[in-house]
């Protein structure tokens, strides 16, 4: 070797400095993930067209119910054929309205550097939602409380695998129902600084959600920036109801994001056929999306869908099934046809514990979403028992899986291709690359090294306490909570949020009667 670097530049400080560097190495929060893989397709262009035309025929000939006076009036005003609650829509009207939707938009966080783009070319992860129960860091399943929701939000904030906080990840069942939404929103804003899901069930809850977001982000800021998402579920078959549509309008009018999710329980509220289920789901989605643009043109929206098949033995929802994977692919193909970002359900399982069933079902759901190029992976954290429990062990496992899926989605890089080919020349037949300069330079980024999946030998694993995945994950959840650092929030903002909650609690009776 001719030019050995001078000792002054070669020395790096040995153990002390490497340890310090590794210790400080924190996986940064995922930023916008740009897809570089090509999506798989389940059907040909002709077959896709058949599904699309079937959806339009459903909307024109059968019609769809909008159980909401305001929506019916708005449809009538633009000349739609409204008979009672049933709205019959012409293809041109639907496609015309949908073309007003933005193809790409940003979600902002309280951290000005953390911006996420939602488009057909990007991938975003959000936690699960709606669990009435939690399986806590000790593995105990019980009704979830406000403190559990706060913990889940703390994990969301600390783990790098989430872009969006689920908002109502688990239910604070210890808080009076009419007051719950206030505390859920407060926790999203105080325990995290991420964009998040607000509450949508009815006008009041939606308005309170927006009002609280404005306290934290400022009304001016929210006029041109999206920070909160409203999840609007369709009532399949072919119904959008008032509760949800009220919520939808509140979010749209505040220039925030709406996610419209038709709800497929295959063979229970759709026909027992994958292609026809896609046609119905798509008809419901198109009607909802078109209505959103009718209500507030230019609204940022996501083509949603929640799809499970149904056990014909009991009626129970089943995730991870091949039919659901195929539906994902079909929805991906359809949404790309319309140019609207779309959502999948990332990590769902029906398992009662964080066991192999949970792993299998979730892995399939993840991969089918990724290969179909889904843009919002909802429920990518914690979902077991068909959504009836938020499992904290699974939550941290999913957060790590999100990093792996993000890596996969970003596809194959050619940035280092030539250097790497050089390495092949250097090593030649029979050698190994472990000590090669290129490996040394690239090993950390080139192949991801998960922390929670275990790659020890049996003896090593035994020496470390014979811990299964669930136990390792519970410990990780515990440790993460212990090291929680709250995000920065102005004292004044925090006080205003508290005052808002107090004021609304004064105005709203805690009783349901």
């Amino acid at each position: 070797m001719s030019a050995i670097d001078s000792p002054a530049t070669r020395r790096r400080g040995g153990r002390t400095s490497l340890m310090a560097a590794r210790g400080a190495e924190k996986t940064p929060r995922l930023s916008t993930i740009n897809y570089a893989i090509k999506p798989v397709e389940a059907v040909s262009a002709d077959q896709l067209e058949r599904i699309h035309l079937a959806s339009l025929a459903i909307l024109r000939e059968i019609g769809i119910d909008f159980r909401d006076e305001t929506a019916l009036r708005q449809w009538r005003e633009v000349g739609a054929d409204v008979r009672g609650e049933r709205v019959h829509l012409e293809p041109d009207m639907i496609m015309g309205l949908i073309s007003k939707a933005p193809r790409s938009f940003e979600l902002r966080s309280r951290d000005p550097d953390q911006r996420v783009t939602i488009s057909q070319e990007t991938l975003t992860f959000g936690t699960m939602q709606g669990a009435p129960n939690v399986r806590d860091v000790n593995g105990v399943r019980r009704s979830s409380t406000m403190e559990d929701l706060r913990d889940v939000n703390r994990l969301t904030q600390m783990l790098p695998g989430f872009h969006v906080a689920g908002g109502f990840t688990c239910e604070p069942t210890d808080i009076a129902v009419p007051w719950r939404h206030l505390h859920i929103n407060r926790s999203s804003l105080v325990e995290t600084n991420l964009p998040y899901f607000g509450l949508t069930t009815g006008q009041q809850r939606a308005e309170d959600s927006i009002a609280m977001a404005r306290i934290a982000y400022g009304e001016e800021f929210m006029k041109s920036n999206a920070v909160i998402i409203g999840q609007i579920s369709g009532n399949s078959p072919l119904v959008w109801d008032a509760t949800m549509l009220e919520g939808l309008r509140v979010y749209a009018e505040a220039n925030q994001v709406v996610l419209l999710s038709p709800f497929v329980l295959g063979a229970a509220n759709t026909p027992a056929d994958v292609a026809a289920t896609a046609a119905q789901l798509n008809a419901e989605a198109l009607a909802g999306l078109a209505y959103t643009q009718l209500a507030v043109p230019g609204t940022k929206m996501i083509y949603g869908q929640y799809s499970v098949s149904v056990s014909m033995r009991s009626g129970a929802p089943m995730s991870g099934m091949p039919e659901v994977s195929l539906l994902n692919v079909l929805v991906g193909q359809l949404a790309r046809r319309y140019g609207i970002p779309w959502r999948t359900t990332a990590s769902q399982s029906s398992a009662k514990t964080f066991d192999p069933q949970s792993g299998y079902e979730s892995a399939i759901a993840y991969m089918s979403g990724a290969t179909a190029k889904s843009n919002l992976f909802l429920h990518a954290g914690g979902w077991d028992e068909a959504g009836l429990v938020c499992c904290l062990a699974k939550f941290v496992a999913d957060a790590e899986q999100n990093l792996l899926i993000a890596k996969y989605a970003q596809g194959v890089s050619f940035d280092h291709f030539d250097d790497a080919l050089e390495a092949i020349r250097r090593i030649g037949p029979g050698g190994h690359y472990l000590g090669d300069a290129f490996t040394l330079k690239r090993f950390k980024e080139a192949f991801i090294s998960p922390e929670l999946l275990d790659y020890l030998s049996y003896e090593q694993w035994k020496a470390k306490g014979s811990k299964d995945m669930a136990q390792r994950c519970r410990e990780k959840a515990k440790a993460t909570l212990e090291s929680y650092e709250p995000p920065q929030i102005d004292v004044a903002v925090r006080e205003e949020l508290d005052a808002f909650v107090a004021k609304r609690q004064n105005e709203i009776s805690p009783s349901l009667a």
């Binding site: 069942t173 129902v177 033995r313 009991s314 009836l388 009667a513």
Partner: protein, 232 residues
């Protein structure tokens, strides 16, 4: 499955009842109607037809559904066949003053539109011979009260799938207490996020985890009711 043609009218009573159990199992509506008529023509009391041919047949269906042998669409067919038989028997039962299987009012509570589970329970209950009045979704306490008054059921069933709507069950039960009518009815509650403990806490008679348990529980309560209230 056999290819040979069976003429129900040529069967002995025992054979016919056996055949009707099979026909119910296979969800054959017309065959059940025919069998019901034949037994009546042979002088069977309507109540005997109901219990021995229909209810017993549906008990077998219910068991095999519970054990995962029969599938939901098949059970619905059976329930439909049962209903057809009931349709013939109902006026006769009323006329002869036969003991009733029982009547149930069922609906999802205020704020809740999840109705798949409730529908399944309603259909299984009908299949077991109960008269079911379905109040649909999103029922306020006033609607339950009006239905109790109008239909005088034995059982009131409430369904909720949301933790935000579950507590409303207590509102309904408390109102029944206030009116002094709580003990006149059996209150059954269900829905995925509920549990036994919750059922007790709101003051229901029972929580049922699924439709099969709902039927068994309802039958159980009806037995006890018949013992204590011979007027019904």
């Amino acid at each position: 499955m056999s290819d040979e043609q069976i003429f129900l009218s040529e069967l002995s009573d025992d054979e016919l009842v056996q055949q009707m159990h099979d026909d119910l199992y296979d969800g054959l509506k017309e065959e059940i109607e025919e069998g019901t008529h034949i037994l009546l023509e042979r002088g069977w009391a309507p109540y005997k037809v109901l219990t021995e041919a229909l209810v017993e047949g549906m008990r077998i269906v219910g068991e095999d559904f519970r054990d995962g042998i029969l599938f939901v669409p098949e059970v619905l067919l059976s329930a439909n066949a049962m209903k057809a038989g009931m349709f013939i028997l109902r006026p006769l039962l009323a006329a002869t003053g036969a003991p009733k299987q029982g009547k149930m009012v069922i609906g999802t509570v205020k704020g809740d539109i999840h109705d798949i589970g409730k529908n399944l329970v309603g259909m299984m209950m009908e299949g077991a011979g109960f008269d079911v009045i379905d109040l649909g979704i999103n029922n306020a306490v006033e609607k339950y009260m009006a239905a109790l008054e109008e239909h005088q059921p034995d059982i009131i069933g409430m369904s909720a799938l949301l933790t935000t709507t579950m507590p409303y069950m207590k509102v309904v039960i408390d109102t029944m207490k206030e009116k002094g009518i709580r003990d006149d009815y059996v209150v059954l509650v269900g829905g995925a996020p509920l549990n036994e403990e919750f059922g007790k806490a709101v003051g229901a008679d029972a929580y049922c985890r699924d439709a099969a348990v709902a039927v068994e529980t309802a039958k159980d309560f009806m037995k006890r009711r018949h013992n204590t209230r011979s007027d019904r």
